[in-house]
Assembly symmetry: C3
Homo-oligomer: 143 residues x 3
Amino acid sequence: MSCLQKEITLSSKPRGFHLVTNEVLKHIPEIKNFSVGVAHIFIKHTSASLSINENADPTVRDNMETHFNVMVPEDANYYQHTFEGLDDMTSHIKTSIIGSSVTLPIKNGSFNLGTWQGIYLCEHRNHGGSRRLVVTISGELKA
Amino acid sequence: MSCLQKEITLSSKPRGFHLVTNEVLKHIPEIKNFSVGVAHIFIKHTSASLSINENADPTVRDNMETHFNVMVPEDANYYQHTFEGLDDMTSHIKTSIIGSSVTLPIKNGSFNLGTWQGIYLCEHRNHGGSRRLVVTISGELKA
Amino acid sequence: MSCLQKEITLSSKPRGFHLVTNEVLKHIPEIKNFSVGVAHIFIKHTSASLSINENADPTVRDNMETHFNVMVPEDANYYQHTFEGLDDMTSHIKTSIIGSSVTLPIKNGSFNLGTWQGIYLCEHRNHGGSRRLVVTISGELKA
């Protein structure tokens, strides 16, 4: 087995859920060398998260954003951590709900995903800026 | 270290939370060859999820289902992605909350879980059908 | 690549979200031997969870606790699994929302985290006691 780690930067995105499978793959051409394994994708921030979800209909991403805003409302009266704006504490909460990393199986040099699956960058801040990820691939190299 | 990947199919289950530890283990007898490592279990769908939780009292799984239906209600008026039924968009949201994969430690040829832990298949659709999983085991083979 | 697994015990903590990065690191000095890889940290309980979040302002952890108590209320009338106390079923639900493990990238002998990131032990029980974790490190040893 072999292990490879790369730090990559995703371009700045507006608040919401974004499909980034291809943007991630563009940064890790080395995945082609692995026959089988896993890719661990980790975001080095606490106000944006990563998920796996539906890759086709953009309204799924829109409805995700709407639901998470209802489930973690900015106008709750119990937040004390507010000095970075009303969207900051809610971003931390959403990050712990969704998660800071995803792990994907690798097969034959690419992600082994279902037909309708893609990687989401979930940008919870109004102005989050570019986001840094650490991708660690562990697996068997092709013969 | 060695890495092994298998695709397995879990039988169709009704909507709800299901304990599937033994059904998963039945499909991966190769785990017995590993002395130490991790098993990454990934579901290739976006309307069902995987979790680790209590393995004894069935009312825990029932109450999980009830709570997630309250927290992600089907009668919310803001869903646009509705052409696959009212249970579809809520299934995508629940999947991002719970997660598309679990990673379990392996020790002495089996999962190294706590006494009360088991693997849950969380079936969020009314009629989800059978579900495909990718299991990737990475670790040290027994001597 | 090499793989190492240790079981460690975190000291008993009150209900709430706790920063435990240093407490975890103290138990795994072997991480220093790895140049690159991942650390999988797994909690062997179903009423406490692990997360990655903000490591600086304690009110973030307080507000997490408050929000999760609102999102998963103990006074809901639909819980049947109540014989272990009102804080038990809610603890199981919070655990499936937040997750039973975190996976962190390793680089140059330590976790490769963002500046503001730390490991949270999320203690959902009123009296959870000490908590057992399984840490599995997989990666390349330093030359």
